[in-house]
């Protein structure tokens, strides 16, 4: 890609390559589809407001872009999505940071153990 004049927030870092995949899958990994499905199902169930979530997602994306100084290729999008979802749920006291941390440790342990025995696809629950 040739350098161009950028008039955007990321201008200082030079032009970013466009990840141009055609015919790609909607989700890059099973967990992405779960994170997506959880947020939409929560909205459908009335547990969260998608607009509140979206505002948080926008903030997360902007914050990370500033922190890292470089733009993302879109591959980490659902990580931001998951971060935003966790924060909204914690703010609304639907889950606590402590129980989330505990459950994460439990699952990490279970999957590590599982992995020692045989090679499952660890993308699923």
């Amino acid at each position: 890609m040739t350098a161009g004049t950028l008039h955007a927030v990321t201008a200082a870092d030079g032009p970013e390559a466009l990840p141009r995949l055609n015919g790609e899958l909607v989700f890059n990994a099973p967990w992405e589809s779960r994170a997506f499905g959880v947020a939409i199902a929560l909205h459908d169930a009335g547990a969260i407001d998608y607009e509140v979530f979206r505002a948080r997602l926008i903030a997360e994306i902007a914050e990370k872009a500033q922190e890292q100084g470089t733009g993302e290729d879109g591959g980490a999008y659902y990580e931001r999505w998951l971060d935003a979802l966790q924060q909204v749920l914690i703010e609304q006291e639907l889950v606590s940071e402590a129980e989330l941390g505990e459950r994460t440790a439990d699952i990490a342990h279970a999957w590590d153990h599982d992995h020692d025995d045989h090679h499952h696809d660890r993308g699923g629950p």
Binding site: E16, P19, F27, R34, V38, L57, T104, W111, G123, P125
Partner: protein, 199 residues
């Protein structure tokens, strides 16, 4: 699968397990959402809208007047498609859509956005230098063509109606729909010429 992805996969699984355990959502509900967006909702919907607009002038008028209502005529609507505005390409004007802040996208007609649409490169650069970005997609427009970039950051979601390719007079509506690619409805491509294989 990399270790970094493993960590986030663990976080996603933990959150889902906790929410299901608390009864806030069910696994079935999550499965249904994922299945819907993986299998049923996608650019084939938008392609039908575009093909109808190509063959039916009255429909095209209704699309211009009220995109949401005209799209609903074909059975598409709902989440992320509550306020649809349809923008038409002409020999003088080429439209392209973006969401500069996140990745707002017209889900009912295009499904979920591709990675590049969510990338910060696309989000920032298509506004600043649309002609250069489009050429990187392999779309070189005549300098006389005006490029309009529509930012989907408000309630509005846009859908581009690409120009009908030449030599398609004898094609059926279904055959025409097959020429309408996802990218042509975002504006980073034009509709596929008949007989050509899409890239």
């Amino acid at each position: 699968m990399s270790h970094a992805h493993d960590d986030v996969a663990v976080r996603a699984a933990a959150l889902e397990a906790l929410l299901v355990e608390k009864g806030l959502i069910s696994t079935d509900a999550i499965d249904a959402v994922v299945d819907l967006y993986e299998n049923d909702v996608g650019p084939q919907n938008g392609a039908r809208v575009v093909a109808r607009a190509w063959v039916d002038d009255a429909y095209r008028e209704r699309l211009r007047a009220n995109g949401t209502a005209a799209i609903a005529e074909l059975g598409y609507g709902g989440f992320e498609g509550d306020t649809m505005v349809v923008v038409e390409n002409t020999p003088a004007v080429h439209n392209v859509i973006v969401c500069t802040l996140c990745s707002c996208y017209p889900w009912p007609v295009l499904g979920l956005p591709p990675s590049w649409y969510k990338s910060s490169a696309y989000r920032s650069r298509v506004v600043a230098e649309p002609r250069a970005v489009l050429s990187e997609f392999g779309l070189t427009l005549d300098p006389s063509v005006e490029i309009r970039v529509w930012d989907s950051t408000a309630e509005v979601r846009y859908l581009v109606v690409p120009m009908r390719p030449a030599g398609t007079e004898s094609l059926s509506e279904a055959e025409l729909a097959a020429l309408v690619t996802r990218d042509s409805m975002v504006g980073t491509a034009v509709a596929t010429a008949p007989g050509a294989r899409s890239a």
